[in-house]
Amino acid sequence: MAKNIQSLERAAAMLRLLAGGERRLGLSDIASSLGLAKGTAHGILRTLQLEGFVEQDAASGRYQLGAELLRLGNSYLDVHELRARALVWTDDLARSSGESVHLGVLHQHGVLIVHHVFRPDDSRQVLEVGAMQPLHSTALGKVLSAYDPVAHSEVMEAERRSFTGRTVTEADAFESMLDLIRAQGWAADAEETWEGVAAVAAPVHDRRRMPVGAVAVTGAVERVAPGGTLRPELIAAVRDCARAVSRDLGAGRF
């Protein structure tokens, strides 16, 4: 292993120092306690401050621990909270696209469907909340694999089964597909999981830009990708919806 990174060690020491009881410390106290030059200490403190780990009292100029540290230990987003926040936006997506909408999260090496809005055509449909989808072939799963490092390692280690002639299973090809997804900001599934079914998905992020789920429009391949080309307005609508949900998760949490 390479040698430890000195600035990170110093940052950790500062956080321990500030965590020692309920106190605020000035720059010179911190610098002298840790045997650092003021300029060095200030640089590290400013970085910690930008990340939210340290806050500076406006009046005294002294430093204290930041709110972000509390959130770190408490960061799990409840999937039912995610559904409640997504409800209006996913309804509107189903309505504007004329197709069904799913919201999925990473769960036990697959995609757990946490919300499902019916295709608005009055046909008989079954609620798919609670169902699982594969990570490597569905639009939802590919978005999660591209953006969530945990999903990525799971999908790379797992056996990637071939469901149709179009399923991408080979590791290099799969990785370059994820690169493309990250570059364009959305993923597609054109009959890669089910014959005759196509989908488009985009990632949902929380207020710290962590990927917490994905939203997808799914429908018959003839409607979603007529002539083999995805409808561009569908891609735009899915991305708008994912952004709107992300915005709602970022705002109004506190």
Partner: protein
């Protein structure tokens, strides 16, 4: 709430603007021809509590907020009055205002539906008959919610008001009347009207004739001079005068729960909707005849479109539903957000034998037992907080079942499906439990804002924006449907346990202790 939906394309209009003058806020939503939301604006107003049990609103503030949110929604939609074919109104029901027709000034704050200052007056008005003295004519029990006794209280307690009222200088209205009068010009020719649904909550209207009942007016002591004209729920009452929507027809008024019934397109007899908020209101369309309730429900007008005959409804309300989840969050601290109740409840398979009857201020429909208080029962060492969370959700579902049973008893109509709306519909486990306990499908529509949508629909019908109720039905979209999965034996056994738990709540408060 969201500002404006930006996904997809909306036509270039025309549009309908709906005003929802609610208990905590006023909102305006602009809808397009497909019934989709184009823009929303909302503003809260002050809740005034002069004494325990008294709740008032400043009607002047409310009218200012209404003007603001209408302008806000129109600007956000990027449209002008030329694009708006009609304005629809829906409102908090029963909240009562008297104002001077020459100055347009309220003579007192509005008395809000929750205000209980007329409790004693209602008892007195019951004479030797009691609560049901006016039920045959009005469909309602004598209770402090309703507008009539509130008007009497104002006439008795605001100095000189009765004389001014008898001279014809004072106008009475629920919030629909106040908004319409101001919208159509106020002191400069404003029309003084109310619709049949709002009038049916005053205790002053005869349900069978759709007219003010002279005998009741004289019994309660209200001069006919103050009353608005009773009109249908969907017709052009007048045109907006001044403001951003100058010249646009004002074309509908519906009480909020009736508007939700309309927005859910419950146009056929036996169709019902239930709105899950802090409390829950369930209404069932009973067609052309007012059904008397012998099971503690209210008989009310559902809607009336223009000169067509009125459509009636049975109404049952549950006092504590969403507020029980809030109680688990704020008072018990068992969850951090309302949505987490589902996470906690889903971590177990069943209620572990525990039942929670949230009779925090007595039992309402169908029992009407003010002496009851809440219980958690069936506790053993086995029961965890997750079982209690499950019992919390089941309480809402069982209470809905009880209202639904009462409706079936009164109307003879079996519930075929329940249309749901409101914040708690995002709780998947609750919706599934509801379907299981009702043994009927539970259906969520694609537009959650059914109250505003109902007002928009009625206004649109009145001006020919939509041709008929069939066109509105065609707009209705199913977003989700939960079908019953519980076997009949389990349902019956659980229901029996619930009813036993309900029994345990009764008689807790000794005579006059509360």
């Amino acid at each position: 709430m969201t500002d404006a939906h930006t996904t997809g394309t909306h036509g270039t209009g025309p549009f309908i603007a709906a005003i929802d003058q609610g208990t905590t806020s006023s909102r305006c939503i602009v809808f397009d021809k497909d019934g989709r939301i184009v823009s929303v604006d909302q503003k809260e107003h002050e809740q005034i509590f002069p004494k325990p049990g008294w709740v008032e609103h400043d009607a002047t503030e409310i009218w200012e907020n209404v003007q603001e949110v209408v302008a806000g929604a129109i600007v956000k939609a990027g449209i002008t009055s030329a694009d708006v074919k009609a304005i629809g109104i829906t409102n908090q029901r029963e909240t009562t205002l008297l104002w001077d027709k020459n100055t347009g000034e309220p003579v007192h704050n509005a008395l809000v539906w929750q205000d209980t200052r007329t409790d004693a007056l209602c008892k007195e008005l019951g004479r030797n008959v009691g609560q049901d003295r006016f039920r045959r004519e009005t469909g309602l029990p004598l209770a402090s919610y309703f507008a009539g006794p509130k008007v009497r209280w104002l006439l008795d307690n605001v100095e000189g008001l009765r004389e001014r009222a008898e001279r014809g200088d004072i106008l009475f209205g629920t919030m629909d009347s106040w908004v319409i009068w101001n919208l159509t010009g106020g002191t400069d020719g404003g029309v003084h009207v109310t619709d049949v649904t709002n009038a049916s909550r005053t205790l002053l209207m005869n349900l069978h004739r759709m007219e003010w009942d002279e005998k009741i007016l004289s019994s309660i002591g209200i001069p006919a001079e103050v009353l608005p004209e009773i009109r249908s729920s969907a017709e052009v009452y007048g045109h907006a005068k001044g403001g951003i929507l100058d010249g646009v027809p004002v074309a509908s008024a519906l009480g909020d729960q009736q508007a939700a019934l309309f927005g859910q397109t419950c146009f056929a007899e036996g169709e019902a909707k239930s709105t899950y908020g802090t409390g829950t209101f369930m209404l069932m369309n009973t067609g052309g005849t007012p059904v008397n309730s012998y099971n503690g429900l209210l008989t009310t007008v559902g809607y009336q479109i223009g000169d067509k005959p009125p459509v009636y409804a049975l109404e049952g309300s549950i006092a504590v539903t969403g507020s029980l989840v809030q109680w688990m969050r704020d008072q018990m601290g068992l969850i951090k957000s309302a949505a987490e109740i589902e996470t906690l409840a889903s971590s177990v398979e069943d209620n572990g034998g525990a039942y929670f009857v949230p009779a925090f201020s007595g039992l309402f429909a169908p029992y009407w037992r003010p002496d009851a208080r809440g219980v958690i029962t069936g506790l053993t060492r086995y029961v965890t907080k997750a079982h209690i969370a499950r019992a919390v959700l089941e309480a809402t579902a069982w209470q809905t079942r009880e209202i639904s049973d009462a409706m079936t008893k009164d109307s003879g109509v079996e519930l075929t499906a329940l249309k749901v709306d409101g914040g708690m519909t995002s709780n998947n486990l609750l919706m599934q439990t509801l379907a299981d306990f009702l043994d009927a499908p539970v259906v969520r529509p694609m537009v959650a804002e059914t109250t505003c949508l109902g007002a928009a629909y009625a206004a649109g019908l009145a001006v020919g924006f939509w041709p008929d109720t069939d066109a509105l039905r065609a707009n209705w979209r199913r977003a989700a449907e939960w079908t019953p999965r519980m076997d009949a034996d389990t349902r019956a056994r659980e229901y029996k346990s619930w009813l036993k738990a309900v029994e345990r709540t009764m008689g807790w408060v000794e005579d006059e202790e509360s």
